[in-house]
């Protein structure tokens, strides 16, 4: 069998929606055994009725839509799943047995939920002092907003990212994906691995308090550090907000996104050095305007950017984004076609690198899924298993791993402690 970097580690995934599941998936992709502990009600995969906005194979939710959601199946591959009701004491007892044999726990309930269950870190640490636990929340486990809720998009607003992800002349927009969730999930996976490294030396676990807002702010630090002089004298002075710069937010280079010949067809171009500007001019056939004084250097080009954008688009509009990319990259100009989701599937680079993997899910069928975004030379890894069906691994986890006798499992099922199908 092929070796994987995190083989031998066991992670419990109590999380919902995107950030937490992505954190756990990252560890699963790297070889950890990840067990999703799911409840019969309000599971992120939905209940017996189709979820509004969810995407199902061929548009058909099927008899068990909770096993067929595209979103769920993308962020939960390589994991196992059990059905367990933590609101019942017997359910919590079983959970504690799982904690005793696990290395890490990822949860993203609102703060206080785990404490209300009697499953907060001080309790779990008593059961397993080697446990690394990460609590992912919108604003953190402390402070005046600790009880406040948010999805990624709200956090992008509260961090200033929506304000600047906007056109020069528009209101705030924000990323078209739940970027804050993704960033939080990846930071959480990193935090778990760092704490596990420390455990090697100390023999003890750690508790990690990860706020979506702080993990996103860490990736916007240059703007925050640049506010430094405004902090002088012990008080913050209100300063003008950073301008909305559209696609031109990078300093020291001229960049933009230009319309191409196809429908909703665009190319992004970044020109960094004078040599790249010269190459760009040659690539577009050296029209007379490229020699004009107003475009002579970077500062002039930035000053006259509206005019220059219009002239550049006069060239790009005659080509598809694919042609324009080949022409420009052919002479060393940084350019990339703006890919749609569908175009990503046929992108020759991603295909050649094996980015997509064909996987059969027992209830959703056979599809191409986006794979692992890293290439590890010695331990490459792959999608080893599709996302689990609800409660698919009850027998392995409760029977084999915890050694609960068959008749006891049946009794726990009758009591609704161990569950086999979601209720709603």
């Amino acid at each position: 069998m092929e070796r994987l970097p995190l083989e031998g580690l066991r992670v419990l995934d109590l999380s919902q929606v995107y950030a937490g599941p992505l954190a756990a998936r990252t560890l699963a992709d790297l070889g950890a055994e990840v067990i999703r502990v799911e409840s019969a009600v309000r599971s992120t995969r939905g209940g017996p009725r189709p979820q509004p906005g969810a995407v199902y194979p061929q548009g058909d939710p099927g008899r068990r839509p909770f096993n067929r959601s595209a979103y769920y199946n993308e962020v939960n591959r390589n994991k196992l799943a059990v059905g367990l009701d933590l609101s019942k004491e017997a359910g919590r007892d079983i959970f504690k047995k799982l904690v005793a044999v696990s290395d890490a726990l990822i949860e993203n309930f609102s703060p206080r939920v785990m404490a209300n269950f009697g499953l907060d870190y001080p309790v779990l640490e008593g059961i397993n002092p080697r446990l690394v636990m990460v609590s992912i929340s919108a604003y953190g486990q402390t402070g005046p907003y600790r009880g406040y809720v948010s999805f990624g998009r709200g956090i992008e607003a509260m961090t200033g990212l929506s304000d600047v992800t906007a056109y020069e002349d528009s209101g705030p927009i924000g990323p078209g994906i739940a970027y804050a969730d993704a960033v939080a999930g990846l930071h959480a996976a990193f935090a778990v691995l760092a704490a596990l490294r420390e455990r090697r030396r100390t023999g003890r676990g750690r508790y990690i308090d990860l706020s979506l807002r702080e993990s996103l702010a860490a990736m916007m630090g240059e703007w925050l550090v640049s506010l430094s002089p405004k902090r002088m004298g012990g008080c913050f002075r209100r300063v003008e907000r950073p301008p909305r710069a559209g696609n031109r937010d990078a300093t020291g280079l001229f960049q933009g996104c230009y319309r191409c010949r196809g429908e909703d067809d665009w190319i992004a171009v970044a020109i960094q050095s004078e040599a790249e500007w010269e190459a760009f001019c040659r690539a577009i056939g050296d029209p007379p305007w490229v020699r004009e004084e107003r475009f002579a250097d970077l500062l002039s080009r930035l000053r006259n950017r509206a005019e220059l954008d219009r002239l550049i688009e006069g060239w790009t509009i005659r080509h598809t984004s694919e042609e324009a990319m080949r022409i420009l990259q052919g002479v060393g100009v940084r350019a990339g076609a703006v890919r749609s989701v569908g175009e990503l599937f046929s992108d020759r680079h991603l295909r050649a690198r094996g980015f997509f993997e064909k996987i059969t899910h027992p209830e959703a069928g056979t599809h191409d899924y986006p794979g692992l975004p890293w290439k590890l030379g010695l331990t490459p890894g792959c999608i080893r298993a599709p996302a689990p069906c609800f409660a698919e691994h009850n027998a392995y986890v409760f029977g084999e791993l915890l050694g609960i006798p068959q008749d006891r499992i049946a009794a726990l099922e009758a009591e609704g402690v161990i569950v086999r199908t979601p209720i709603r």
């Binding site: 070796r3 970097p5 948010s150 200033g160 056109y167 927009i173 280079l253 100009v333 989701v341 990503l344």
Partner: protein, 389 residues
């Protein structure tokens, strides 16, 4: 000596701009000892990129550099010279992780690993080391374009937008740090180091929020639609009395409508909410104009509705939540003056390394070349004279 989670991890960074420096910063801020190698001809290009502390370009005042290089030691080294390469090999012989983003072909990782099979090398680039675009030239906007995120961002009738800031770079650095930690775990278990490559285009394409699998399942193409959520509604940004507010029903239209005072909410069936967004916005806008964004934020939260204020970056430092959690710290810098330093992406209870400022160009040459590698002052000045350091 204080002990932090990664105190016994030794890292060499051959990084420029954002991605590799962010990966090494994540490790350094948790206690790893990171030596950042900069070229002697001006150093890391982030030193020349803004924003700058007082708006005037200066290599020690780039906020980008100051943010990305906390808690590192900085040395200068031209490893393209024979002597420089030998010095690099000496540094690497005692390292656990080497992270670089100097472009495909800039560094012979195989040769570097030859002397230290336990070494983990991480190479970050826009496209990776193999494949049809491997020789293409990358940029943050190029990774965001080819990675699929731009097509989903912005207004449908205007050009696609990148996420503000070098997010393709940050994201690749974050992925690099976590995979390096996984490889370190494997190394500690098996004794084997390995080489890892990270492409920012692929990192971006990996976080499209289920959109790729959605397309694979039923051919549906998600499209950009300004601040509106692609499937759930209401989830958008609208003006309030004094600024913008993110309104969000969190899938509970009934509670949302009651909170916002929308009459006869049953006119809108749950499955129609998204397609009737214009109508809903028209009902919300006059109502939202009655109160400030701060009032809406707190009042909605009392109803467990995930509203948010659209803040601008300069409003973050005084924010009561950031203040209460001590997210920002102030540190001294000999050239740039007192700095407001953004905090860690997560809090490890009991393991906070105090923010140490970014190094000046070549600041730790003496400490590293003399203290660690044992060169004499005379040898050091020779190396300086040869332009090696």
């Amino acid at each position: 000596m204080e002990s932090y989670p990664l105190s016994d991890v030794r890292v060499i960074e051959l990084g420029e701009y954002v991605s590799a420096p962010y990966a090494a910063k994540l490790l350094a801020d948790l206690g790893a000892s990171v030596i950042k190698v900069e070229n002697p001809r001006g150093g890391d290009e982030a030193r020349r990129a803004g924003p700058f502390i007082d708006g005037i370009p200066h290599p020690e005042k780039s906020a980008l550099f100051l943010h990305l290089n906390t808690n590192k030691k900085g040395i200068t080294l031209d490893f393209r010279t024979e002597t420089g390469w030998a010095l690099l090999a000496q540094l690497i012989s005692r390292a656990d992780i080497l992270v670089g983003n100097l472009g495909p072909g800039a560094l012979d990782y195989l040769k570097l690993r030859a002397g230290n099979p336990r070494l983990i090398t991480v190479s970050i680039s826009c496209f990776g080391e193999e494949g049809p675009y491997a020789a293409y030239r990358g940029a943050d906007i190029v990774a965001q374009a080819l990675g699929g995120v731009m097509k989903l961002t912005g207004f449908p009738d205007r050009e696609p937008l990148k996420i503000a800031g070098p997010q393709g770079e940050y994201l690749a650095g974050l992925n690099a740090a976590l995979v390096a930690m996984a490889a370190l775990h494997f190394r500690d278990e098996s004794g084997h180091g390995q080489h890892i490559e990270i492409s920012s285009m692929e990192c971006m394409a990996s976080i499209l929020e289920g959109a790729l699998t959605g397309f694979a399942y039923d051919g549906s193409q998600r499209r950009r639609d300004g601040p509106r959520h692609p499937t759930a509604y209401p989830s958008t940004i609208l003006p309030s009395k004094d600024g913008f507010v993110h309104v969000d029903a969190s899938g509970d239209w009934e509670t949302f409508a009651r909170f916002m005072g929308i009459p006869e909410p049953e006119r809108f069936k749950p499955e129609e909410l998204r397609e009737r967004a214009d109508e809903i916005d028209a009902l919300l806008i006059p109502r939202l104009a009655e109160r400030s964004r701060e009032e809406w934020f707190h009042e909605a939260q009392a109803w467990r509705l995930p509203f948010a204020m659209v803040l601008s970056v300069d409003e973050l430092p005084p924010d009561p939540q950031f203040q209460a959690r001590g997210f920002f710290t102030e540190i001294a810098h000999p050239v740039a003056g007192p700095l407001l330093q953004a905090g860690a992406p997560f809090q490890v209870k009991g393991a906070r390394r105090p923010a140490g400022r970014a190094p000046l160009l070549g600041e730790h040459n003496e400490e590293v070349y003399r203290g660690m590698l044992g060169y004499t002052a005379q040898e050091l000045s020779q190396l300086r004279g040869m332009g090696v350091i």
